[in-house]
Amino acid sequence: MNFDMFASRARAVAMGVALALGAASSAASAAEITVYSGRGETFVAPIVAQFEKETGVKVNVRYGDTAALAVLLQEEAARSPADIFWAQDAGALGALAQRDLFKALPEDVYGELPTIFRSRSNKWVAASGRSRTLLYSTERASEDELPGSVTELTDEKYRGRVAWAPTNGSFQAFVTALRKVEGEDVAKAWLEGMIANDTKVYRNNTAQVQAVADGEVDFGLVNNYYLPRFIKSDKDFPVAQTSFDAGDIGNLVNIAGVGILASTSNEEGALQFVRYLLSPQAQQFVTSELNEYPVTRSVVQNPSLLDFDQLVEISPEVDLDTIEDLDGTLQLLRDVGLL
């Protein structure tokens, strides 16, 4: 076969394949929605399967990195095949809301939710929450030693006893919130104070939980859902977690949430999905299986988590739409020598 023959055959094959695939992909029916999910398959797939069973609406899920999908949605803009974006953090949702890529949600979707679980722009809503907490050793830390504020951890009595994970995304989100709420100077002074107090660096949250259990440190700054994973397999695990005083920035609640894209071709189906995510059934799964906080009161509480009202009471008021300045936080962490 010479090259020209080969070329013409290749062209014919390519055209055929293109037509077949193009036709297949455009044959989406109205009873379908497409979700771009930054949350993992293990968590999303069971909820989606249940939703499909109950409503008959078929859900196509594209799994990916939250940031990559957020950038993709900007690139697609009005041509996006997606109806829903389910993001792992508020920063990505805020960025899309700011660029007018989300439709406003009807008030009955978010009206009942506490302010920590909704956006000021009403363009996205939380599907679950994660709070920052303080781990402590049940063997080496007494109740009266527990600090009222995360800022007290720079105190001499905590010297060399606290763990943190500066490269962790949730820790960095906390530092961003600290900068926005208390100001750059306070944030910098706190970081420097912690370093001067011999705070021990770990690579992630799980490593901190183990370090407290192993006696390397007595306290650790983590997200709420790591310890329950350990306690699930060992009831006598010698670590507990607590929160700071009500309103302290150390209790920051970050969320994973959803928004409906302005380009949706099936708003009704998308809305059905959002409502389902906020339904007692889905919220029960979120809290029981994922150890995250539900966004509504109407579920059986996960024993390893705070009571819903208690969480709402202690969490600081932070506009989650504004905590997307990661670059500034990384700069600060570099300046103080943590990165």
Binding site: F3, G40, T42, R62, Y63, G64, E75, G91, Q210
Partner: protein, 531 residues
């Protein structure tokens, strides 16, 4: 213009057409970045482009890339010499094990190294001793080196086995000892292989996000990554990407400059005789020890870590759960590898046989697009597809096209080396004996470069199997591959659940590397055992 036209005369038009097509495809990222960059606000761009930190990033990027090149050479050169020239036992098994690290995804390698160290590290838990945390500069250099060195190993090995031993014989006759003959004759002839390997590894290191992000080492690609992932921004990321591509261009030009001036095909008559193997003798334990160490670190370590995670996982049905996912990965990777090899051929052929400024330019573009950060590449093909062929958007066809254009450079390298070592006189002879140009190509050229074509396609296949960002953006919705399955579990901290899928990437890729090496072995002349 007239001068250019005259230079092209004699270039076969069909090949030229396909080479131009390949070149146009690799221009996609650059065009996309230029369009995105233009919508930026001038003042912000000025702040971003002229900030002092870029200089630090540049220095870090060069230091890391240089470190990776040195380390991969230290690993790959002795290995290649031993495998190609020494009287090793288990040669084919050793060769396979030295290529397998290519199948290890960068994020798995980084996790494995990070997981070694520290209080809860693998070493502390299994062997009871602690090492310092592996991170930053050395973390990035070691992790990148441990899974990219096979590119260099493969290039060097095939060059070593293809050098005509007669040249060494001549050197020996003229009074050189065996080691001096090796240094004076063999090493210089390894230059194209070294350059080809360095180019692929260096450009990969420039564009990598995954490892540098996990190791926390601040290079250019990491700054681009934080623009995307921290600020969810693609405009300023485009400026940083263009700066990175300018750096790439200078490296590619340098490679062309060095390679353009030398000639490597053998000129003597007849077929080269078989290579003679040297005896290891008392050095054998050191040789096997070195090989063992490299294999243990590069492929043993990540597999041990994956098995360690697996032990803590709920049982996953390999047939029921993993296999269908593998079929999706395979269904994208195999056509991508074939298409990349097809696209690469006219580029490599023109580059070697008709080295005009045009053919050099096309090849350079292929390398530049390969060095672009993968997320940028993916976005570029999203842009192309949405604007030119919306019907193909997020279809398997578009995914395969995007992979093929992005990784075509990997297929060009081995084809180029193979073509350089095969003298144009053979094709000319076929023509003189009455073959048409197509027939000469089919009966003479293609059989001689078969190994190069196959090797290049395998490299593309293995890279696609573990690729993430392009897959996130362009795979058909719901087309969850092995790599995505790994990511969508590790991103939630579920390392144990991710392990079976990661292991499947390594195992299946290994299978194809093995098949490819086997096919190569059957067509290659056997080396002669020492008498």
């Amino acid at each position: 213009m007239v001068k250019w036209l005259r230079r092209w005369r004699g270039t076969p038009p069909t090949l030229l057409f396909f080479a131009l097509l390949a070149g146009a495809g690799s221009l996609v990222p650059i065009v996309y970045l230029a369009i995105r960059a233009m919508s930026a606000d001038a003042q912000t761009v000025a702040n971003l482009v002229f900030r002092a930190r870029n200089f630090d990033l540049l220095v870090n990027t060069l230091a890391m890339t240089g470190g990776v090149l040195v380390m991969t050479t230290i690993i790959a050169l002795p290995l290649a010499v031993l495998v190609a020239r020494a009287d090793l036992r288990f040669r084919s098994a050793i060769t396979l094990l030295c290529v397998l690290p290519l199948a290890v995804p960068g994020y798995v390698m980084a996790y494995a190294l990070i997981g070694l160290s520290g209080y809860q590290g693998f070493l502390a838990q299994i062997f009871g001793f602690r090492i310092g945390r592996i991170e930053g500069y050395w973390g990035a250099v070691v992790a990148l080196s441990l899974y990219t060195f096979p590119y260099l190993f493969l290039n060097l090995r095939s060059a070593l086995s293809q050098i005509d031993p007669a040249m060494e014989d001549v050197a020996r006759c003229l009074g050189y000892g065996p080691s001096k003959a090796f240094v004076k004759i063999v090493l210089p002839h390894l230059l194209p292989a070294l350059l080809a390997g360095w180019l692929v590894i260096g450009l990969y290191a420039l564009g990598d996000f995954g490892v540098v992000a996990l190791m926390g080492y601040e290079v250019f690609s990491y700054a681009i990554f934080t623009q995307y992932s921290g600020a969810f921004d693609r405009i300023y990321a485009a400026w940083l990407s263009l700066m990175l591509l300018a750096l790439t261009l200078s490296i590619v030009m340098f490679d062309g400059f060095v390679l353009g001036r030398t000639r490597f095909a053998r000129v003597s008559k007849g077929a080269p005789r078989r290579q003679k193997l040297f005896r290891l003798g008392m050095w054998a334990p050191f040789a096997y020890g070195y090989i063992g160490l490299v294999i243990l670190a590069s492929i043993g370590l990540p597999i041990m870590v994956l098995l360690f995670w697996m032990m803590r996982a709920d049982t996953v049905s390999l047939i029921g759960d993993v296999f269908p996912v593998f079929m999706r990965s395979f269904g994208a990777a195999a056509p991508a590898a074939i298409l990349a090899a097809l696209l690469a051929f006219p580029v490599a052929y023109l580059r070697v046989r008709y080295p005009t400024s045009l053919s050099r330019t096309i090849e350079r573009f292929a390398y530049i697009s390969y060095a672009a950060p993968p997320l940028t590449l993916g976005l570029a093909f999203v842009f192309l597809s949405l604007n030119l062929v919306p019907a193909l958007y997020q279809t398997l066809t578009m995914l395969v096209i995007a992979y093929a254009f992005s990784f075509m450079a990997l297929a060009i390298g081995p084809q180029r080396s193979a073509l350089m070592q095969c003298s144009p006189n053979l094709e000319a002879s076929a023509r003189v004996l009455g073959c048409g140009s197509g027939e000469a190509m089919r009966r003479v050229t293609l059989p001689m470069i078969r190994r190069g074509v196959l090797a290049g396609a395998t490299l593309v296949f293995v890279l696609v199997m573990k690729e993430l960002p392009i897959t996130f953006l362009l795979a058909p919705t719901g087309y969850t591959t092995l790599a995505i399955s790994v990511f969508s579990r590790t991103s939630e901290g579920l390392l144990a659940d991710a392990a079976p899928y990661a292991l499947a990437i390594v195992l299946f890729s290994s299978l194809f590397i093995g098949l490819s090496l086997r096919a190569e072995g059957e067509s290659a002349p056997k080396a002669r055992k020492p008498a």
